[in-house]
Amino acid sequence: MLDQILRVAVAGNPNAGKSTLFNTLTHGREKTGNYPGITTEAKRGLWHDLSLFPAGAPRVELLDLPGAYSLHAHSPEEAVSYRVLSDGAPGSEAPQALIVVVDVMNLERNLFYALQLLELGRPTVVALSMTDRLAAQGGTLQLQRLAEVLGVPVVDARRDDPATPKRLADALVQAMAAPGAERRWIWPDAQVEASFRDLADRLAEATASERRGADGTLGWWLSSQVEAGEISPATAPLRAELDALAARYFTGEPGVPARDQMARAAIEARYAWIDRKVAPLLDLPASAESRSDRIDRVVTHPVAGPLLFLATMGLLFQLMFVGADPLISRIEEAFGALGRWLGGALPQGPLNDLLVNGIVAGVGSVVVFLPQIAILFALLAFLDGCGYLARAAFLMDRVMARVGLHGKSFVPLLSSFACAIPGIASTRTIERENDRFITILVAPLMTCSARLPVYALLLATFFSDRPAIGGVINQAALGLFLLYFLGTAGALAMAWLLRKTLLPGSRPPLILELPPYRLPRARDVWYEVRERCIGFAKDAGTVILATTILLWAAMTYPRAPEVEARFDAQLSALHDTAPAADAPLAAVAAHRVQVLRLQQERHHAVTERTVAGRVGHFILPVLRPLGFNEQISIGLIASLAAREVLVSSLGVSYGVGDDEESQGLRMALRNDPRMNRATAISILVWFVFAFQCFATAGAVRRETRSWKWPALLVGYQTLLAWVASFVAYRGALWLGLGGP
């Protein structure tokens, strides 16, 4: 009994308050480890306060399911809920009981899904959220009567009441103790009901061994077989009977298939039941929605709405950059210092090199992403909790429609400004597969934070000292804006192209609920941010770390000891001829230049022979039309670990420090006769479009369940980058930017 676990799923409509309740009950202590069949999509956690349960009771494990409007799943996110709830295979970890969260301010529509869940016949508690809002607006609900009508415990589960966990625990114990929930059904016609019940019983028999969920609960059967149209082999023969029944009873509308009519009848029967039995129990004054309505009058206004939206996005980016910047440089410094310290403390050799340049650098390049990801997701979680993101999707729908997408693609693309990987994961709310895949395939074109160090270095080196345009617009700042614009425009254009070619489809229909405005709790926002960061470190971090180590090896091996020895001898010879400290300045400088040049030559000679050097050399002819030199070519290979690695890679290959702030690298780039504004533009455009992140390919593979789409992503990004860079480079040369 002691280590027995009672698995309880928290289910309900989107925005009903599920995550809030989950966090309250678990104290945000999420359990890692996967639920069978689903990966990271449903959160798990243990009920924190055990003292609320009788002694000897099993521990309660809660599962925070994604929101859904129906068991008949329309989006991959809803499919997760359906899979978990309908999973009845013996030995599976299907939930044994349910907590259905119902928003009292949206009672009827929330109860539709709740009724479907009650039909599953599992022990169930209905948890009413937003009862504080109901009271504040002078509304009342006859809670006791509702419990009688529904036949399961109903509790007030308002967010900020310390007694909420106790009430839920008591109700859960009560629900578990109740004799098997009564099979309820909703057909208004007794004869129809009898026929279906008979069929359902036989269906249950046919599937009992396979799916425990079908143990006679007509509702489950109806939801999965009728509404979702899903058939298991065992039930296939009964399908014909079902069709016959449908044809017998649902023939009211000529031209509409009987099965569709039956599905609709099932939905209408539930709403009719709710209207008849539940609606009279709720007394909500007519003015109840006014506050959200007043806000919406501004937020969705045709003129004020878009302006407010632009202002919000502007503020979001401002906070993201300004807030993350100091943290990022702090992290870079810390990892730099750690690397230097380790490099000095350990004996020289390949192990030292692996640790410093492979592992520490790799972990560092994962951690530098976290500030921007954390800030962006804190802001997104806040805006989502408020209800603003749904409005943003509403406002952006018109823009997205131009390229064949709908408003729900907006949030994934916005997230991709921090990193495409969480952006790609958040496409799961998009219903149709083609719409979702288009969004996934263009998200990597949005300017993620990894591109920024590269942009910063090249813009600062080649443009910041140019005269401001018209005396006011700084060229580097304008350049940054244009790069963001180019990425976004590229993403939209690619979406349009994919829609016209590989992933055709009509304009996706948008159905989106706009929840009332609410102020989210700080701790819920914090839990969300923590989860995102951990998720990123796990998903992207491992890939980035692995590629960094692999690329470190490719940049190091095979080694050429005789070449190294030759250069080292020359270097030490040069060292011996160093002019004295009091020698003329010109002599000291000349000697210094000699040393630097020799160091560079040594670096080139050594990397030339490594795997990366050979590959870089091999692909150079393809990149030469873009104005790229050998260092850039090798740097591009190194930056496959993470884009910002280009900076340190260039630093090393020019024999100067590997820090973007370093004046040395900027000087070296500026003094390299092969580098000028035209080549800089070419590299920048390359970074806007090129595929440079294996972690992204992994995320695409996971979400599309095929290697075909990541392969397409790599292909189209590379082609697009080449063509765009070529055009940009030639254009820049034509404009005369090829000179010093």
Binding site: S70, E108, E513, P515
Partner: protein, 71 residues
């Protein structure tokens, strides 16, 4: 022929009489509360439009608003 939700001017209230020509989406509309006899109010007309029903607000793209017959 009944008018559709897309034809109602903003501020008007009407009852849903039927859903036409949107198989899969129609089912979702119904699940979200657009059942026959439901009272709906047009808050904003256009693409997408904003509808109030059963104490909630839902936005619909034009094609879907056209699928909802009202009377």
């Amino acid at each position: 022929m009944h008018p559709t939700l897309a034809q109602l001017p903003a501020g008007r209230t009407a009852r849903v009489t039927d859903l036409r020509g949107c198989a899969e989406s129609c089912q979702r509309l119904m699940e979200m509360g657009f059942t026959r006899g439901t009272l709906v109010e047009v808050l904003l007309r256009g693409t997408p439009s904003l509808i109030r029903l059963r104490h909630g607000r839902v936005t619909l793209s034009a094609e879907l608003a056209q699928a909802v017959l009202v009377g």
